[in-house]
Symmetry: C2
Subunit: 296 residues, 2 copies
């Protein structure tokens, strides 16, 4: 592949994706934080001194930003890449920023002949670093095919869920609805188990052996038990990501006239966690919102 790829945004996910892709492609990376660029450089990612420099001449620009404001700044701000990107190139947007924003940005980019491949990813940094992500894509066919070699490299599971930008976000929104609820539910379950006098670790094992099992219960359960017992669990995924994502979930539901009471209750728990100062803690710490102070 002689295709030239820029990776913009070298945060937890972007750095891992850039490093992995650099093993198979010609990758140049950029981040507004110089120390992130230096980290990527160590992993074999060519560095640029600006977003514009990285995107200039690139066939595909993989974007890993946090939210719509960062995306708008990256595209149209002082160091905005939209004006330097060539016709026929495409942006692979790996971020979860909501359905309507992606649809709007896709229209703007199309006016300049730039494609948008809506490809939000799931799986976390460790899996991003070995091409083991779940990638759900919404894109027109031509652009999907153009980006497919890179998407294939990033994903262990690649699902083309819809033939337009926005459908990847739709799928990710549904995915996050479940993930966000399951983590909050794991918190309620394990806090209740403790309060009812059960051994939480024995309970977790029994729960995972039957119909109560979920991926999130198995993955977050041990860290939730730590958090419930006053320990600081390792931060594998920050709590404030779910403040953002559950906001996207309830907004999306409202936009189509749907009530989602269980998702809304989970959203409130993340907001309560945020208000309690847990934004940068592991998302499993949401258990503390419901955990009684006088736990045994």
């Amino acid at each position: 592949m002689s295709r030239r790829i820029a990776v913009l945004g070298l945060g937890a996910m972007g750095l891992q994706m850039a490093s992995w892709l650099a093993k198979s492609f010609d990758v140049v990376g950029y981040d507004i934080a110089a120390e992130r660029v230096a980290l990527a450089d160590k992993e074999g990612v060519a560095s640029a001194t600006s977003a514009k420099e990285a995107a200039d001449g690139a066939d595909l620009v993989l974007v890993a930003v946090r939210n719509r404001a960062q995306l708008d700044e990256l595209l149209y701000g002082a160091d905005g890449i939209a004006e330097v990107m060539k016709k026929g190139s495409a942006i692979i947007l790996t971020s979860t920023i909501g359905i309507a924003p992606v649809e709007e940005v896709a229209v703007q980019l199309a006016e300049q002949g730039i494609g948008l491949v809506d490809a939000p990813v799931s799986g976390g940094p460790a899996r991003a670093g070995k091409g083991d992500l779940l990638v759900t894509v919404g894109a027109y066919e031509t652009e999907y095919e153009f980006a497919k070699p890179v998407l294939d490299a990033m994903a262990s599971t690649l699902v083309w869920v819809g033939k337009a930008p926005g459908k990847g976000q739709s799928m990710k929104t549904v995915n996050q609805l479940l993930c966000g609820i399951h983590i909050a539910a794991a918190g309620e379950a394990l806090a209740l188990a403790g309060k009812l006098g059960l051994d939480q670790t024995v309970a977790l094992e029994a729960l995972m052996s039957g119909a109560a099992a979920s991926f999130m219960l198995g993955d977050r359960g041990p860290r939730a038990i730590q958090a419930d017992n006053g320990e600081e669990a390792e931060v594998k995924s920050r709590l404030d990501i779910f403040v953002k994502d559950m906001g996207i979930v309830t907004d999306a539901a409202k936009s189509v006239g749907m009530a989602v009471p269980v998702a809304a209750a989970a959203e409130q728990e993340y907001l309560l966690g945020f208000a309690r100062g847990q934004a940068a803690m592991d998302d499993s710490s949401v258990i503390r919102v419901v955990s009684p102070e006088d736990r045994a």
Copy 2:
């Protein structure tokens, strides 16, 4: 084993457990509905003409009733078995009736020298019929050991979660909190997927491949999609069971001073389903509570 076992309550679960146990033990069964006794008889379960007759002389009485009212009637009603059960015998209570009720009944039975093995089961009738249940037990050691051969036969996973009656119910309560939330969450997710224009079956498959996966999503998902599209899905587990069980969950949480907002939101969805006339439908039909009428 020359131990004599009575199985009282031959509903969906009781009939299957009795039939399975009759392959290895001397089992006599009874139900207030004569047609259920006839069904059990066909499966090799000796029949009795009253609960008292079945329990008289039994070493272990396995009880599969729906709720506390039925249990009280069975123990102390007109055909009440407590007065005929022998000292040193024990009741294996497989029902989910709540923590406090079991603790109270255990005290009453202990006064007569009858043990109570609190052993709520999970897994549904099909698994009950082949000894493939998850059984979480709360019992004193002597009684647990006494009942263990029968519990081992019923269970593929047997967990002795606590050394007193009530602890089995506690564990089951936590289990049901998760199961009830996960089914309601699957409904919200799949209804939202449909409303956002995604193919629900493709979405379900993608969701099950990643962090959004749960046992309930995989098991109930296909039937939820049927229910969302106006079909009558096969009834594998009735919706009103979760009206009862989520009531037990929120009561248990209140009793220990805990808020469980996500479980409470799920409980409301089952109550809404009940109010909409879905009590006897499959529990996956809870999706209809949130599904918009104008779905595409």
